[in-house]
């Protein structure tokens, strides 16, 4: 069985600064994907960034980037130039290639961006 662990329940950052959210996972699968989702107070999950496990290059999406360490089973999210609109819950999620799109989520990290 796969598990996803986010060890930081809450984090805060000053506007315009950089913050890193941590995520570790456990799996015996070789082919899988990792995601970071953002959940604002509206509750709607929004995809932030996706990483294919077979790619060594870390994914980036504008101000968002990941540090994917496959051997260590670590998948952290870096947010640069933090903005007030980044305030939300952030969930790390695992998806095995052979499980039909099912997502396994971590417990979440509540990020507050302070002006």
């Amino acid at each position: 069985a796969q598990t996803v662990t986010q060890s930081q329940p809450e984090m805060s950052v000053q506007e315009a600064e950089t913050v890193t959210l941590s995520c570790t996972y456990d799996t015996s699968e070789n082919n899988y994907y990792l995601f970071w989702y953002k959940q604002p107070p509206s509750r709607q999950m929004i995809l932030v960034i996706r990483q294919e496990a077979y790619k060594q290059q870390n994914a980036t999406e504008n101000r968002f980037s990941v540090n994917f360490q496959k051997a260590a089973k670590s998948f952290s999210l870096k947010i640069s130039d933090s903005q007030l609109g980044d305030t939300a819950m952030y969930f790390c999620a695992f998806q095995a290639d052979n499980q039909g799109g099912k997502l396994i989520f971590g417990q979440g990290t509540e990020l507050s961006v302070k002006p």
Partner: protein
């Protein structure tokens, strides 16, 4: 394009009552998921449909929960009878393909409170 629609947004019921949630996925999305998100936790998959067939309901408490997806489009999730521990947000998601790496699009969820 229109997103995943869910209703109602909020529901309060007494224990042992029944309740139903409705989801309309993005047009053309064959795969539909229902997730349960208990306060302070990440979402957990309850059931997954491919068109109108169930492909994974291993974590659905079948003694009280049921779900259907008529004509492979809209879906309803029902709880009967409800227990206090069913208090949670129920998220519906859909994806175009049922394979790894495919982005799941989420609705805003239904917040259920059982008193």
């Amino acid at each position: 394009e229109a997103g995943v629609a869910q209703s109602p947004r909020y529901k309060i019921i007494e224990k042992r009552q029944s309740v139903a949630f409705w989801c309309n996925p993005i047009s053309g999305h064959a795969t539909l998921y229902w997730y349960q998100q208990i306060l302070g936790q990440g979402p957990k998959l309850l059931i997954q449909f491919q068109n109108n067939g169930v492909v994974d309901d291993s974590q659905l408490p079948k003694d009280r929960f049921s779900a259907e997806r008529l004509k492979g489009v809209d879906s309803t999730l029902k709880i009967q009878p409800a227990k206090l521990e069913d208090s949670a947000v129920y998220l519906c998601a859909s994806s175009f393909l049922r394979q790894g790496g495919t982005e799941a699009f989420f609705g805003q969820g239904t917040r259920l409170t059982v008193v």
